[in-house]
Symmetry: D3
Subunit: 245 residues, 6 copies
């Protein structure tokens, strides 16, 4: 059950990943009262802002400013406020992971103490940053639970469940849809959030179609016809619990 | 949530499979009030009764009688009564699947209208019967939902979730533990049920150790140290629902 | 290059499979002058006509009649005429493959001598018929090339390239999109063909979305932005040729 | 160690499979004194005798006669005598497995009591017979060890190690070379055996090249430069023993 | 179709990789008028020059000189001139990839604007350098297409098709032969090129045998008996196009 | 055959890995007279000493001291003396691999000239250090055989066989049990060694159960009922030899 005791940490490699791939999940958890924290590691200025760079005289600072406005507007549509969001402004394409960054994320996980982490899955064709971030998050999550990893001012976290976003081209990224999350009741919010990324119209329709396809799969796998739109996620390790779900 | 509205159908290829591999799950669902139905397809007289055949002058009828007594006693330990159990007495090793049997199982699924089906997973090294039964159950489950498959006196079922037992040698059977079910609170019942198969002492200890190992995995994956014993299952298709579990 | 020397054989398990999954390919080959032959193995009366069976007083004969009208209308939209189509009217769900049917299909392949065969791929979750047909077609294709398989009145075929349709839920069917075929220039025909299956509105939109997603993948993998809609296929064995394509 | 207490059973789907793919292994075991028994299930008259059928006026009986002469001559080169060979003369392409045949092979295994079974591996692209035979042999081997499978005049066998031949196109058959067997010291015998299949010159050179490539792999994996020619096999289940080999 | 508008970039980790594994492809593209550029990242002085180091008093400089002469001679046999070749002289075993090198290769790709890139595939047992280079090339190819990656004096490239060389031991390197390229008409050139690496006689025969085996596969998969020798490649992502090839 | 000419090198990421996962193998090789060398890369102070850090006022130095005492005591139980052991005291969680460390391990391999290397396998869920060490050891083993890798005072090693420990959660680590080693005759030693890690009682029972389960698998796969306890290992590349084992 989702409620105000549920802590969720979303880690997005670039400015818009959390919207295309997890916007429904975020809106759903926020709506149900969960404490959702978002870390955006980069603006995606180099690798995911092609349309902006097509503008004559574009500059890196200006791209970042635009992306920041878009991502904050989108996050707002999903129910997040600025206090829930950190932007770490790493360079993208390629994103480098080093010891200082590992410690920073480990600290963040210990601070949030998430029950659920949502981030990129291990394989994502055409997007090496997403693969690096997936390993980065997993490794930091492991460190966060180990009390021999001494970080002043922190206490260890319990092992969070980790879910992977669906990559853009799922089959060539070895994606397995372990969980299909119904997002019907928050889908209007996701649509509004996607619309904030005006320069990427092709992705808005793309992820709109995806939501419908996953809704179809949700109906077929469950026999429940009330599902309209859905998002798919991979699990990083087995589900553990008190019933067969 | 498990309650009296939860219908569960367990399909076991041989006399004892449901105990070694799903005894905890059965006891747990029964204990929580679910309606659990068990179909045992064969006595395992040819393929899984080696110890009985070591007795001088053994006969097929006698083996079946012994296996029947054992399985009913074990089922009782798990909380099942004879009304919950059907034994179809097919020949094992090899178990043949034909059209009449497919119709029979399709009818059974339509009658029980299970939310959950528990049976053998698709691969099980050294046990061709288990692999045949896995496909048999899956195919019947598909037929049961299709209203063009006209079986007098039946109405279509909704798509059940299907879970696969852990095979004996998991890695060489490509088993993936999608769900690890905590069975701590019913583990004494499972132990009692296993003890009913007196001639198979090596399996009693084997599945006892398994339960402990899966309990360890349950703790590591969840951070929840109250889990002591567990059972692992594969899922036949994605989990669909309203939260990330 | 596609021209009037190109022979194509499409084998569809049920009435509408060739439209949802290969309608663009068929229309494209017909448009470019290829000789396209279609074999529809069944009407899908039991397994893929749920909506028709929801009509009070429905009969098997009536379902078949409806499905036949629909499939012929759809085939016409794709450019096929009745001479190009055979309907073998096998029972579906489950479709049985036997020696007589194997010989019939082997004969058909020897008669058409296809350069390309398009049919179901080896795995298709929730659709056991599609899996049976995939093996059926592959095995018949092997037999068709062997001159020790003596079938009066036939001569052996050369090994055809075999392509697998994209299954409904690709990732859980281990589908690999080896070839993404641009169908932009025939997409209106495919839409018209899909519209012939009036009772299956949810599939019409489903496969419409799919075409757009595959169009997006086509653009990303090639850098060619003229691609709008596409269909994906698996290959049954390696591409052989005179250049790296 | 190979010696006169070592029982080996080789099961070949067609007339020449045991030569191309396991001729070196057979010669090596015979040379070292092992008791090697060969069962050839068919003459391969329909599926693997293309060259013979190119002869004007060819008949099935004549093809079988030719294949029989070739296979006996080849077996002789490998050190086998006619007492070591059974030809079951099943129809090939497709080879049907039924209950009577399963019992026959189970009996054979119980009679030979092999320590090692060599046969086709589970996947073999373009050769459905090989895949059927692989499952046939594995299933019979399982039955042979179960004392509830009562076959008059037989006693149960111990579980044999089972090795799979390398298929013709290894990568598209998911072949894993678990064991690479040095056949340098018997390679001349294998060459002589291959030469008995005069009509299949392209295979003689093909398997000659293969032996050299596997010899190269043997050297690279072991650092032992005395290996010249080798054969690769898959294992059906883990190696068990007293050292790490 | 290959012609003078076809740009090809070949990236070879060590001095001879492009010859053993892609010499036929290079010769074929050159012969058909394509613009083929070759980057050799290292001389392979540490890891692939064992025979040279067996010479008493050998020095690193001398090894490099010898390798350079050999590779230039071999490239000439394939139709390349020195203007088509760059040798970057990185240290091998292990080859380090850093930001400066990533930028250099990204620039190179933007300069050549290849339609086709040929390099090492993602897995290559016993050769960690090949695996590093595979990722290096893929990542640089992704960067080369993104207009947010600003490199003065360059313009973005379109996404190239990327093909992976066959690794030395294909099955244990998870190699999938997606494309088998007929090299019959340029095979004499490849033989001449291989002969330039005099100290590696065992590889000359090894890759000679490989070419024959792949020729056999080419014939079997296509039914085209004019293919004699061939080379196999993996594809990094799906084929996109206007027909089913 | 194991004897005094057999050189074994065991490389353990943390203080206790070699005991839980390879203690039986070590004891067996020592008992049979082999020359077994152990390198422990770290004390596991940060990642595998949770229980010690639960002690009030714990320090890193004290944790290392405790771990050192435990590991030396355990190694002694397995028959190793301090001359056979090197502790490199790298920081764990995460363990960094750099050029100096690569050279150090390459030297060590050239010094020991192992026939067998035992270390971590390539995948180990929840344990990124184990994965890094697996690649570290494999790469160093490759370098150790190449005579172009000039390290003063060393001579090249022959290619060792490399075996991977069973990871803690085998199925989610893609572990394949290629070899199951009977450790019945040294199992008391392993138990004694495990008991040296007093603070990790849950692992002592865990690996005790594992040994029994693997013993069961050993019996089933071989038909040899004398096997009681066993350890499973993966192979890094194919077995090469003179018989089918």
């Amino acid at each position: 059950m989702i409620d105000s005791n549920t802590n969720v940490l979303v880690i997005s490699a670039h400015a818009a990943d959390f919207v295309w791939r997890g916007g429904g999940a975020i809106a759903k958890y926020v709506k149900n009262g969960a404490n959702v924290q978002l870390v955006v590691l980069s603006y995606g200025a180099r690798g995911e802002s092609n349309d902006l760079w097509n503008i004559e005289g574009q500059t890196l600072e200006n791209v970042k400013t635009t992306r920041k406005e878009e991502l904050l507007a989108a996050a707002k549509c999903l129910g997040l406020t600025e206090e829930n969001i950190e932007i770490w402004d790493y360079q993208d394409y390629h994103m480098e992971i080093n010891e200082e960054r590992m410690e920073r994320l480990t600290r963040k996980i210990r601070e949030v103490k998430p029950h659920i982490i949502i981030t990129h899955g291990p394989r994502d064709a055409f997007n090496p940053d997403h693969e690096s971030v997936s390993k980065f998050v997993f490794d930091a999550a492991v460190l966060s639970t180990s009390n021999g990893v001494r970080l002043e001012g922190t206490t260890t976290a319990k092992q969070a469940k980790i879910f992977g976003f669906e990559p853009h081209q799922s089959e060539i990224s070895s994606f397995h849809p372990d969980v299909i999350l119904d997002v019907t009741d928050v889908y209007e919010q996701k649509k509004a959030a996607m619309a904030c990324f005006g320069a990427q119209g092709h992705l808005i329709s793309y992820y709109g179609y995806k939501a419908e396809l996953r809704g179809n799969h949700a109906r077929r796998c469950s026999g429940n016809n009330s599902y309209k739109q859905a998002e798919a996620f991979s699990r990083f390790f087995p589900l553990v619990g008190e019933e067969l779900v």
